[in-house]
Amino acid sequence: MAATLLQVSDLTKIFPVGGGHQLKAVSEVSFTIRRGEALALVGESGSGKTTTGRCLLRLIEPTAGHIQFDGVDILAQTQRQFRALRPRMQMVFQEPYDSLSPRMRVGRIIEEPLRMLPELDAAERQRRALEVLGMVRLGRAAYDRYPHQFSAGQQQRIGIARALVTRPDLVLLDEPTSALDVSVRAEILDLLSDLQAELGLAYLFISHDLTAVRRVCQRVAIMYLGRIVETGETEQIFEAPLHPYSRALLSSVLYPDPASRLSRYVLTGEIPSPIDLPQGCHLASRCPMVEPRCRSAYPPMDRFGEGRSVACYRAQEMRALGGLTTH
C-alpha cells in the first residue's frame, strides 16, 4: 500500500469570462496527500481552493494537470469509469441543509452513496447507515426523519455520515464549519479530528478558518489567487510562515490570549483581479518586500527542509525575520 494517496500535479482550471478574457482560477497547483493525513487548503475567497477541490472530484473538469488517486490517473477516466472510484473519495459540503435532499429521509440520504457498491444488500446498507449515524453521534432515531427536522450542526453530522458510509480513503471537506455557530463549530471540528484518527482518513480540508485548520490538519497549503504559495507542516507554518502572504494571513488571526501578541504584518492595497493576471508574482503589487524580479517572473517553489516549500524569492530573508509570536 503506497503511502501517497493523492498526487496532484500542475492542476490548472481556466474559466472563459467573455470578451476573450480568461479567469485562471487555479494555476499549476501541485500537492500530495498521504494516507491518513489531513491537508488544509487555506486562502481567502477567490483564491481557487474550492475550485481545486471540485476538480479533484471531477465536479468540474480541470483545464490541465494530472491527478493520481491511489496510483490511478483519474483525469484519464471517463465520468462513467470515475463513478466506480467515487465511493473512495467523498465530500462534505459547506451548506449543511442545502446539501441534503429535502424530500428524502436521512436514512435514504446516507444510503444513497452505497448504491455504487452493489455487493451490499438492503439490510447491509441499513446496518452501515446506522453505524455511521453512531459514528457522528446521532442516534438511530435520526434514520427515519427528514433533514429539516435537525439543527444545522446535526445536519452537518448527517452530511459527514453520508461521506463516511462508503468507507472512503479521502474526504474532501469544503468549508464544513463556516455555516455553523461558533459553539457548534468546535464540536464538528473535534468530531472530524476523532474520525480521522479512528478511521485513518485522509482529509483535504478547504477553509479560510485558520483556527479550524490548526485544530484538524497536519499539513497546510496556502493559496493566493489560484496558486499555492507555501506548504508545510501545520505547526511550522503557523509558527514561522515564510511567504509574505502567509505571514499576513496568519498574523490576522485573533487569539484569545492578549499576552501572545502577534507582530502584525499587514498588506496594503487591493487584491488584483484574477482576470488576465500579469506575469510575475501575484502579490507583487501589495508586498512590502517586493523586488524588481518579483514583477518579471513568478518565483519557483523552493524547498525549505522536509515537506516545506515556498514560492518567494525572499523566503530566506523571511526566515531570518523569525516567528510570528513575540512571547
Binding site: L57, L59, Q90, Q94, R115, G139, A141, Y146, H148
Partner: protein, 304 residues
C-alpha cells in the same frame, strides 16, 4: 454505536412536517373566500361527473313527447331544447364527458410536460446528446405555442375526426408546452442547489439525479398549474364541440348544447344556450380560483 444521545429522543417522532402542512392549508383556506368558492365548485363538478347522468329528472339523450322549446318552469327548470330534451338534466350530465376529457388530457399533459421539462431544464446548457435533446424539446415547444391554440386544436381534431379520444389527444398535446416551461423553470433553480452535487459525489448517474433527486423538488409549480389547465381544457372542449369538432351531438356536453341552442337565442328562446353557458363559465371560474389559491399557497414567498 452511541444509542444514548441527549439531543435526540430514542423513539421516532411523528411526521411533524406533514401535519403542519395540512394545518397550514386549513388556515390558509379559512382566510380566503374565493378559494373556498373555487373548492366548492370543483368538488361539485367532480361529483356531477360521477353522478350527474343518474340524478337528473329526465333522460339526457332522448327527446321527450310534446312541444319542443318549452321555457323554464317547475317541470323543466332550465326549459327544453329544440329536440325537446330537458336542459337541466343535460347540463348536470355534461361534466361526465367534459371533465373526463379535461382530467385525462391534463394528466397526460402533466406527465409529458414534467418529464420533458426535467430533461430540458436539467441538461440545458450542457454538452453532447443531452444538450441537443434539451434544445430540441424547447424548439418543439416554441413551434407548438406559436400557433393560436384554438386553431391548432381544431386542426389536430380535424386531422383525425371528432371523437372523445381525439379531443383528449389534441388537448394533451397543446398543454404539454405549458407544463414543460413551468417545470423547466423550477428545475433550472433546483439543479444549482448543493444537494445535486452531493448526489453526483454519491455516484448517481445524471439521469438518476434528474428524475430521482431534482424532479421531486421541482413539482410544486406544475402541480399548481393543474387546476387552471383543467378549466382551460373544459373551455377548449366546449369550443371544439361548439364548432362541431368535439364531442358528437346527442352526448350531453356544454359546448354542443350552446351550439344547438344558439339559433333559438335569435328567435327569443334565450334559455337554450344561456344555462349551459352559465354553468360552463362558473365551472371554469371555480378551477381558476382553485389554481390561483394553490399557486399562492405553494409559493413560499407569498406565504404569511
Amino acid at each position: 454505536m452511541s444509542s444514548d444521545n441527549p439531543s435526540l429522543p430514542a423513539t421516532p417522532l411523528p411526521r411533524v412536517g406533514q401535519q403542519t402542512a395540512w394545518r397550514d392549508f386549513l388556515s390558509f383556506t379559512r382566510q380566503r373566500g374565493g378559494f373556498q368558492l373555487g373548492l366548492a365548485i370543483v368538488a361539485l363538478s367532480l361529483g356531477l361527473a360521477v353522478f350527474g347522468p343518474h340524478i337528473g329528472p329526465y333522460p339526457t339523450e332522448t327527446a321527450l313527447p310534446g312541444m319542443p322549446l318549452q321555457p323554464p318552469s317547475w317541470r323543466h327548470w332550465m326549459g327544453t331544447d329544440v329536440s325537446n330534451m330537458d336542459i337541466f338534466s343535460r347540463v348536470i350530465a355534461a361534466p361526465r364527458i367534459d371533465l373526463t376529457i379535461a382530467l385525462v388530457s391534463t394528466a397526460i399533459a402533466f406527465a409529458g410536460g414534467v418529464a420533458l421539462g426535467v430533461i430540458s431544464g436539467f441538461f440545458g446548457g450542457g454538452r453532447g446528446v443531452p444538450k441537443l435533446l434539451s434544445e430540441g424539446i424547447m424548439r418543439a415547444a416554441d413551434i407548438i405555442q406559436a400557433f393560436p391554440v384554438f386553431i391548432f386544436a381544431l386542426a389536430l381534431v380535424g386531422f383525425r375526426g371528432p371523437g372523445t379520444e381525439n379531443v383528449i389527444a389534441a388537448l394533451a398535446f397543446l398543454n404539454i408546452p405549458y407544463f414543460l416551461r413551468i417545470t423547466r423553470g423550477a428545475v433550472l433553480q433546483v439543479r444549482e442547489r448543493p444537494f445535486v452535487e452531493a448526489q453526483r459525489c454519491a455516484g448517481n448517474s445524471e439521469w438518476r439525479i434528474a428524475f430521482v433527486h431534482v424532479m421531486p423538488n421541482a413539482l410544486t409549480p406544475p402541480l399548481a398549474n393543474i387546476s387552471p389547465t383543467i378549466g382551460f381544457s373544459i373551455l377548449l372542449t366546449s369550443g371544439l364541440s361548439f364548432v362541431g369538432a368535439g364531442v358528437p351531438v346527442p352526448t350531453p356536453e356544454w359546448g354542443s348544447m350552446i351550439a344547438i341552442g344558439a339559433p333559438n337565442m335569435m328567435t327569443g328562446q334565450w334559455w337554450t344556450a344561456l344555462f349551459p353557458g352559465l354553468v360552463l363559465g362558473i365551472v371554469i371560474l371555480g378551477y381558476a380560483l382553485v389554481g390561483d389559491g394553490l399557486k399562492e399557497f405553494l409559493d413560499p414567498v407569498n406565504k404569511r
